[in-house]
Symmetry: C2
Subunit: 193 residues, 2 copies
């Protein structure tokens, strides 16, 4: 019996993987993040690989999935906000313009030593927001555990005019590409037992 | 006390409107659909208006929202599939290529007699699918109550590489544009009580 491990504590990633019908267990990666690049695509691939590797050696899974998401806007990389003020700083950067959400995904196959790793980029267009709208949104509590200080799958939907790319990538896991890339490597994630 | 009515029985539209924090009641439109145009944008605007109007005169709501969604691909307009065979026909048209999802929305304001009506278009890119994948997908039961025979928010996410436009429009209600258009008409849907 083969076992899939998701190396992430994010409830949104869990939901997305369940949504496409994959059976898996969760082992949250705890380690410190070591970033050696400033290119968002490279940063998230590195971090997703670190998460997968940290969990891989200490768990009994056969296939380990790591993921990391950042927001890139005006030459800055945004992770999760530190506090309400930081969230407001981020929303001011995002409102009335477009930004990129980048998720890195690494899949480790213990049996063969193979690895699948990629970064998926989605462009998001945000309507102009007033200071009051941003403050009201922060008061909902939604921004605090999310890269870029917003959840597209939550109340922030009222301020998104459109995207270019994969929506689930913005939520935190590009399950379409993940499923297809692993399928190309010879494994159907939905039958991997 | 003002009352918002959603003139749709779709559980997905209900969820989306709740997601952005709007309080409303549901009154499903029952009437026959009368289509007088072959342009998808016009068709969905007409149908959304018919739904809103049908409900408007017989309910005690102050603001009534109607919506209708279709899929357009290769010169054809796809509604909900009639049966499994029809769903397979639709998925064959959609796999390996791109199509458009068009949702028409009409908002009626009883007090002022004003109306907001628009059609939102989103392009969806679908990965190539084998006959077996399409049949397996139909067997999940997901396609049967959905325009174009798929649910992007369900297992079909494994077959979507990306979109251009509003994701929620594909699910059935472009809540971002709906919220903003009504806001431009002077009403904040989240404070409309």
């Amino acid at each position: 019996m083969k076992k899939i491990i998701l190396a992430s504590g994010s409830p949104r990633r869990k939901e997305l993987l369940e949504q496409i019908g994959v059976k898996f267990e969760i082992q949250k990666a705890e380690g410190e993040e070591r970033i050696t690049s400033v290119v968002p695509e490279e940063v998230v691939k590195e971090l997703s690989m670190q998460k997968a590797e940290e969990v891989a050696w200490r768990c009994d899974g056969d296939l380990i999935i790591g993921a990391d998401t950042v927001v890139a806007v005006k030459g800055q990389i945004l992770g999760k906000p530190k506090d309400k003020e930081d969230a407001l700083r981020m929303l001011r950067l995002l409102q009335g313009t477009e930004h990129q959400v980048i998720t890195g995904v690494t899949v480790l196959l213990k049996e063969t030593g193979k690895m699948v790793s990629f970064a998926e980029v989605t462009k998001v267009h945000v309507y102009p927001m007033t200071e009051e709208q941003m403050e009201r949104y922060i008061d909902t509590g939604e921004p605090m555990d999310k890269a870029g200080a917003y959840g597209i799958q939550g109340k922030f939907a009222a301020y998104v005019s459109g995207i270019e790319g994969d929506y689930n990538n913005v939520v935190g896991l590009p399950v379409g590409r993940l499923y297809q890339e692993v399928l190309n490597a010879g494994i159907d994630l939905r039958n991997y037992t």
